[in-house]
Symmetry: C2
Subunit: 142 residues, 2 copies
DNA sequence: CTTTGTGCAAACACTTTGCAAGTCC
DNA sequence: GGACTTGCAAAGTGTTTGCACAAAG
């Protein structure tokens, strides 16, 4: 669990991962981006910066970071896997199927829902990163 | 929208699709199965029955059926796309990450959640087929 | 008979893996 | 120095597509 005021290197080591340039670079990209990032975007951002960066490294780094809970991974559809840096709280989203925008979803609503499911079914939903699709009311794309 | 007492052929034609043996066979498999079915399972079930059945046909048929709303499609993870026949009501599920079981999730709870999201965000969540992962309370796999 | 669907095989895109060289601690 | 990471290239997987033939309405 990352503490405030920790450097990315410390966060990595605190999770049992070595602080390598590749991982720090990926973390930079993730933190610089609000919302979802695809593997392709990570690779593009890093290769544009000049450094050589292999795609297998991107997949491995993102998988490692996901494994220790530093990033959230969502599979929206095949070949459309997105990642997001987890700063401190949960992150839930609404994705409009009409205009493609991703909007924040109030965490409390989700928590209430999770609680009610637990009460009713004795099932603990693990939703640190819920993405629901639908249509927003004032969608500019409609 | 399929009406009661309609034959699968009628349902297909009602959706603007031709009633072909391939589609009827896929529908048979879907209806015979409670819960999720993968493409591979559909193909296996049909080829076991003797008839020749190409995988591209499976993908196309499932995609067609999904397009007209006769089946629900869920991407649990890359390469793990599951389909389910939509009989009449919505189908939501809980999937236990420990034992792999899929359990039913009360539709009312989901509906309440969707309503609250709409109230709060003005966003209409399109969830005919929600799959939430987590851990069940009395999981035999724990 | 016209339109739509199917089989076949090849192509695709995303993701994973084996291994040698390189890097972190 | 020893264990972990990266780059590279190649192999997997699941999924899609082009096209000629077959079938549905």
């Amino acid at each position: 669990m990352p503490q405030p005021n920790q450097s990315p290197s410390d966060v990595l080591r605190g999770s049992g991962l070595r602080a390598t340039p590749a991982r720090l670079a990926v973390i930079d990209v993730l933190r610089a981006t609000q919302g979802h990032v695809t593997v392709a975007e990570v690779i593009e951002a890093l290769t544009t910066q000049g450094a050589k960066f292999d795609q297998s490294t991107a997949y491995r780094v993102l998988s490692d970071l996901g494994g220790v809970g530093l990033v959230a991974e969502s599979r929206l559809s095949p070949g459309d896997t997105v990642f997001e840096w987890i700063s401190q709280s949960n992150h839930h989203h609404l994705q409009c199927t009409s205009c493609g925008r991703t909007l924040p979803l109030n965490d409390e609503l989700v928590q209430e829902f999770i609680d009610s499911v637990h009460e009713r079914h004795g099932f603990h939903v693990n939703a640190t990163h819920l993405v629901l699709s639908g249509i927003e009311h004032d969608c500019p794309g409609v």
